[in-house]
């Protein structure tokens, strides 16, 4: 995210997700070669993208949290909670579907910013403890409120969010594109986006530069909540119901996607383009393995390996970045 007039070589070495991008191309080629039409068909590719739409939307939000040097472990519970909120607003209170959907994502943003964001940004508690706590809290609320029962939602609008299509492309994919573009634009072209990087890169310098660190963090967790709630709406649309047991594996998968995409665990470095590649990598791997008939348990094992791989890449990049800095110091100064 530096000057626009860069050469390709500069891009290839500066970008932190080139390795994952290469791996993505590699496994795509592998599945295409071994599975042929079963993998490369229009139907399967659309299915692949739609199946990662929930992870995609959550991961875009998660990227903001990781960029500030945090993480949000409550996104899984938030997905389940917003599905339930949607069901209660629509089926319970009988609000129009559109109103229910809008209110649901706003409530998600409010919970993320008002609970996670306030506790982390204003009260300066550890992001890990706070979101671990709210993950349990939200999940508990879901179980109590839903009595662990599935609530069916019959609405053409909400169904449309899960399965409808426009211009021959299903709605979840449009939502993915929209969320990605919005997140990309915010991070790259707004003062708020710069604040996110500054807070993650050096919180003391950011504070002394007059950046309102607490407000930035609150806004970041509001964005995470907003994205998680939007993912909950997509989930409800795809299931045609609100289920209290969805989302358990989302926090780790989203964190894996963000880290795989080259965003630094320490904050300040990375972006949503890498996250997009990370999500596609996880999705393609799962889709390809499913086509080969590999059981979902093995898919879980592979996801675990990917997560460690992601952290390993982060680590390697940290140390090579450190190496670069050291070298610069030796060459340039003192």
């Amino acid at each position: 995210m530096s000057s626009p007039g860069r050469t390709f070589a500069a891009w290839a070495t500066s970008s932190r997700y080139t390795a994952v991008l290469a791996l993505l191309v590699l496994i795509t080629g592998y599945f295409a070669a071994t599975e042929g039409a079963k993998f490369v068909s229009h139907a399967n590719l659309e299915n692949l993208l739609a199946s990662v739409s929930i992870l995609w939307v959550v991961s875009m939000g998660m990227t903001f949290a990781v960029l500030t040097g945090g993480i949000d472990l409550s996104v899984g519970a938030m997905v389940a909670l917003s599905g339930l909120v949607l069901a209660k607003l629509f089926a319970g209170l009988g609000l129009p579907a559109l109103v229910a959907v809008v209110l649901t994502v706003l409530i998600g943003a409010l919970l993320g910013g008002g609970v996670n964001g306030m506790l982390i940004g204003r009260a300066q508690l550890s992001f890990f403890v706070v979101t671990l706590g709210t993950a349990s809290l939200f999940q508990g609320l879901v179980s109590i409120w839903s009595q662990t029962k599935t609530t069916y939602i019959t609405s053409s609008l909400i169904d449309g969010i899960g399965f409808g299509d426009a211009l021959g492309i299903v709605t979840p994919i449009w939502i993915m594109i929209g969320v990605f573009l919005a997140a990309f634009a915010v991070l790259r072209w707004t003062y708020f986006g710069r604040d996110v990087y500054a807070v993650g890169g050096n919180v003391d310098a950011a504070r002394l530069s007059g950046i309102d660190v607490a407000r930035t963090i609150i806004a970041v967790y509001a964005i995470v909540g907003f994205c998680a709630a939007l993912a909950g709406v997509i989930q409800a649309g795809r299931l045609g119901a609100s289920s209290p047991i969805v989302g358990a594996d989302i926090p780790l998968a989203a964190a894996a996607a963000v880290l795989l995409g080259g965003t630094s665990f320490l904050g300040g470095i990375g972006g949503v383009t890498g996250t997009a590649v990370g999500v596609l990598f996880i999705g393609t791997l799962q889709n390809g393995l499913a086509i080969r008939g590999v059981s979902s348990f093995w898919q879980q094992v592979v996801t675990g390996v990917i997560l460690i791989f992601a952290v390993g890449i982060d680590r390697l990049q940290q140390s090579s970045a450190g190496f670069r800095i050291r070298r610069v110091r030796e060459e340039g100064s003192v």
């Binding site: 708020f192 003391d204 530069s209 007059g210 340039g332």
Partner: protein, 487 residues
Amino acid sequence: MQQAAAPVLRAEGVHKRFGGVHALRGADLVVLPGEIHALVGENGSGKSTLLKIVGGQLLPDDGRLDIAEGNRIATVSQETSLVPDLSIAENILLGRQVRRRGVIDWRATRRLAARRLERLGLDLDVAQPVRRLRPDQAQMVEIARALSADARILILDEPTSSLTDDEVASLFASVRRVREDGVATIFVSHRLNEVFALCETVTTLRDGRTVGSGPVDETTPDDLVELMVGRLLDRPSAAAARRETSAEPVLRARGLGLPGAFDGVDLDVGPGEIVGLAGLVGAGRTELLESLFGLHRLQGRIELAGAPVVHRSPADAIRAGVALVPADRKRDGLVLGRSVRENLLMAAQSRLRRLRVPSAARERVVVGGVIERLRIRAHSQGSAVTTLSGGNQQKVLLGKWLQTGPKLLMLDEPTRGVDVGAKGEIYKLLLDARRHGIGILVSSSEAPELLTLCDRIVVMFRGRVCANLTRDEATESEIARFAGGHA
């Protein structure tokens, strides 16, 4: 110290390349046993690279390196490598604790550590954690650790950059004690007065070459600077004293207090005036600047250009036209991983308001102007700040704050860890800012710096203003006298 002893260390014609950069191109260094040997040179002259090669962390590409048999080398660098929460004893003997029947004998370990410290003339409770120590004490614990590994050559890489005068004196006393045991010391410092106070021999590097080496007695600070820079330096001086103005002061502070830091401080800074703030570390200088910048709730009254103000946060202070260039640019000043452009605009943008999109084209013009005016050497506006040298980073930091258009510019140790060349440029920039009517408040523990820059020097002692010296009254010894509490 003219003895015929064989050198403990002899490096000749050392070359080292990093990619395209030729960091060392024929560096020589000869160190005799038991001597204190200064290694000086500008940033980028190759000192660190040479020391790393001597210390065995890097291999030379070419050249000879002879270290007499059995002479271990220990390096104490600028960044402390102590574990803050372990005790002094554990830090000194980390990995070498005294063992008895397989378990650590803590009493014997502590006794041994205490003996090591005594050798340096330090009497500290070795059971206390390192976190509680003053910077100079921590520095000496590092030296004790280095020596406890039986080092015969001690490399001190800018050990004094964060120490006050008193602390430097006690560090020097320790180094002299070490010499009595026959240990040779290689001492790196940007402060030439320290070289003359402590060292016997001085070797000068420029552009990766050794350009001079000889007894300290036979040279002068001016000779050394000329040797380091390769040209005569025109020292900017505030001597062209500002014209007296009767204008309203930029800052008028009355009865400022912050519990535990300072009390009853009155301070005035006029437009186009540079006021120095002198005092030992702990005298409350940093806290005073931070308070004026809205980082602490303070008691008392502040007026900026005649209007009373209360700053609750740095953002308030910046909007009111106050800027603070912090002492630790890596910790508090810059976001090292972000670009020169973003860093230069970071503080200024908090004056604008948010829900607007930055205009890339206008920013490029503005930032280009700053880079040119401050003569910042960077590959491009988009380069990460980490890729810049220390002096250039410091200029980015200064530019970032000048960019906010301050009425009052405060600087805490503005040239710490910066070489003589960049120092001169920073002084010029400050004098230039003064000409534009900015009121400047400089806190520094280097008296010569204040004497060069300031129209007036305020000395603090234990949280109180104890002297207010005009340019004509102030001398190094006067400042030291008041700063030490001898009013």
